[in-house]
């Protein structure tokens, strides 16, 4: 941490003549590296170093709540985690929520994008209504839906009770709770998919649609042969991005169901939180965290691959 202030002063100055250490440091050859250093340094202190630490911890049997001297136990934690049925259950829950939420986001986002692809009066204002959810905090969204699902006076429960004769408690059953979380998350992030699809839609040159109109192509053929190829790569980006993000799902679950009923909505992030901060199984949770990190790195690589492919396409 002590390195930081000294390096901050030395950003883009260029006295070529200065000798000694200062001169060495400010050599134009090192300018790029120098500019990057503060950012990397902070990330090192706050991200990379802690990760290395927890990597180390994952090989011990450390518990943050106990004073016992931790003992090295090799890969035992990893073995425990990977053979734990509970962990696989949480992964499964996460996969179900991620899968359904991302699919729902794709459908809704896509339809919204088609709606807003046209230029119409006051479009900007109307678009605002749809874009707002994405900018809200998870906690606010959790509060909205908690209020909606509230069994006695929640709007959703009220409407559902009107339809079916049996009283319905949305968050009472595992399926209902998962649906409740998926709906909240998809509601919040469909606008994101919409934005990406919209970007694809506006990138289609207008003259292609004009040509299709002259060529008397049907609406479906126009969509299939012109529109879809243009949004294909962005849809892939949307799926990957949203998968990575939904994979982290914590706040909404924490607020709406706290993982319940039972552990039916406990995503891997919530489970990690529990293991680390309620049961204080620090080492074990570190091991699991590393497995999660590995998955995210793989997904991030895929995402970057998709970004680069799209960039090549746009050129």
């Amino acid at each position: 941490m002590a390195v930081l202030p000294t390096e901050k002063h030395t950003s883009p100055a260029t006295p070529h003549t200065r000798g000694g250490f200062g001169g060495w440091l400010l050599d134009p050859k090192r300018r790029g590296a120098l500019l990057v250093t503060p950012a990397i340094a902070i990330l090192f202190v706050m991200n990379i170093f802690p990760l290395m630490w927890s990597f180390g911890l994952s090989f011990f049997n450390y518990k943050a709540s106990s004073q016992r001297v931790p003992r090295f136990q090799g890969l035992e934690n990893y073995q425990d985690v990977l053979t734990d049925d509970k962990v696989w259950e949480r992964f499964q829950t996460t996969a179900i929520i991620v899968g359904s939420s991302v699919i729902l986001q794709l459908i809704v986002g896509f339809l919204l994008a088609l709606l807003f692809a046209k230029a119409f009066p006051m479009r900007r204002i109307v678009l605002m209504l749809v874009l707002t959810p994405m900018m809200l905090s998870f906690v606010s969204v959790g509060v909205f839906f908690k209020l909606f699902y509230e069994p006695t006076f929640g709007v959703v429960s009220y409407v559902l009770n009107k339809i079916s004769s049996e009283p319905f408690v949305m968050l009472g059953s595992p399926e209902g709770a998962i649906a409740g979380i998926v709906i909240a998350d998809a509601w919040m992030w469909s606008p994101f998919v919409m934005l990406l699809v919209l970007a694809g839609l506006v990138s289609v040159p207008k003259y292609l649609y004009e040509a299709a109109e002259i060529d008397r192509a049907s609406k479906w053929r126009t969509f299939r042969t012109i529109t879809f190829p243009y949004i294909k790569s962005l849809l892939l980006l949307a799926v990957l991005f949203r998968t990575i993000e939904t994979f982290k799902l914590f706040d909404i679950v924490y607020i709406i169901t706290e993982g319940g009923p039972g552990s039916s909505t406990e995503t891997i992030a919530v489970y990690l939180y529990r293991t680390a901060f309620q049961f204080f199984k620090t080492s074990q949770s570190s091991a699991l965290a590393y497995i999660v990190l590995f998955i995210v790195i793989v997904l991030t690589n895929l995402y970057l691959y998709a970004v680069n492919r799209r960039a090549a396409e746009v050129d």
Binding site: Y207, E210, A211, E213, I214, R216, A217, I226, P229
Partner: protein, 365 residues
């Protein structure tokens, strides 16, 4: 089948892009809309296609008013400036695209595609996608896609503008050949006069949303009807020299006074006798028609060579006598040196005369 435009007008807000134009294109005729950018030629074409609404006036295709029809209901074929090839489809699929609407059998479609690809020599590239094509190939595919069916008319928006000079020359010939076989009215929009002069049966020269002249390529060049057409058609540009009429003899020999005091007798159109002495006129003469004399002769303009540009077989010389610039094109063998004093003669019958309202003065033929 014909295209008829009646008092066709397009306004974008306060800007009038096309201003009440009347135009007829006959069956099998190739008409070029020629003009500088922003003159409304593309807008006119798009109104014929239905991609743009007419603010006022009518578009008639085959005698039927089509103002309110969508492009798909007008049955027109159009090739776009940027080709508008469908990027995800192969060349063959691009060619077949307009045929799907006609509910043809697969066999019929492939027969037609084969036909067109033979005409335009696309056989080798049918499996490629537009991204893998060279500019000239893209252009041929675009043309192929528009001629593959039998529409009411053919529309081409700047068909050659994206090609380099050499390719453009080549394609001009090819397209001309294709166009000659089409038995439908055809409209080509271009800003390139060479393209218009070589490909069109008639040319409509446009400026600021109006048609300045509609005529055969020959007449547009030889008999420009006003100052704009005179200056726009032909390279190097026609010399346009302001002068004052001193008098004329009724047979077309007239004497003009130029700025700077020189006066000379030039044989122009006999209609010059309609003007009274003292009238301000503009004389127009093509650079190739001016004659250079090394020695002063009667009725010649003495001037100095400012700059010499060799153009291969010919030489372009820029003259300046302190009052006006003149361009002269001569055979490359005529020795010209910058700084030389020479004399310019206006041969009989090649000088156009424009009155103060910029219209040509010419006796009816």
């Amino acid at each position: 089948m014909t295209i008829e435009l009646k008092k066709l007008t397009k306004r974008f807000g306060t800007l009038t892009a096309v201003d009440a134009i009347d135009l007829n294109v006959g069956d099998g005729e190739v008409l070029c809309l020629l003009g500088p950018s922003g003159c409304g030629k593309t807008t006119t074409l798009r109104m014929v296609a239905g991609l743009e609404f007419a603010t006022e006036g009518d578009v008639l295709l085959a005698g039927k008013r089509v103002n309110d029809l969508a492009p798909r209901d007008r049955n027109v074929a159009m090739s776009f400036q940027f080709y508008a090839l469908y990027p995800s489809l192969t060349v063959a699929e691009n060619l077949a695209y307009p045929l799907y609407a006609e509910k043809l059998s697969a066999a019929e479609i492939s027969k037609r595609v084969a036909q067109v690809s033979k005409t335009l020599q696309l056989d080798g590239i049918l499996k490629r996608t537009p991204g893998q094509l060279a500019e000239g190939e893209k252009q041929r595919v675009a043309v192929g896609r528009s001629i593959i069916r039998d529409p009411k008319c053919f529309l081409f928006d700047e068909p050659l503008s994206r090609l380099d000079v050499q390719l453009r020359e080549e394609m001009r010939g090819e397209i001309k050949e294709v166009l000659q076989d089409l038995s439908r009215p055809t409209v080509i929009v271009t800003h390139d006069q060479l393209e218009a002069l070589t490909m069109a049966d008639r040319i409509a020269v446009m400026r600021d949303g109006r048609i300045e002249q509609v005529d055969t390529p020959h007449n547009v060049f030889q008999r420009p009807s006003n100052l704009f057409v005179a200056g726009f058609i032909g390279t190097p540009q026609m010399n346009l020299v302001p002068a004052t009429l001193k008098g004329s003899d009724g047979a077309g020999i007239a004497e003009f006074a130029f700025d700077g005091g020189q006066a000379l007798k030039i044989q122009v159109d006999p209609a010059v006798s309609q003007l009274s002495p003292g009238a301000k006129v503009t004389l127009g003469i093509r650079p190739r028609n001016l004659e250079i004399c090394q020695d002063p002769v009667e009725d010649s303009l003495s001037t100095k060579i400012d700059m010499v540009e060799p153009m291969g077989a010919e030489t372009l010389a820029h003259m300046n006598d302190g009052y006006r610039d003149l361009r002269v094109v001569t055979d490359w063998r005529v020795p010209l040196a910058e700084g030389d004093h020479v004399h310019l003669r206006f041969p009989p019958g090649v000088t156009h005369i424009f009155t103060e309202d910029e219209q040509v003065l010419r006796s009816a033929t």
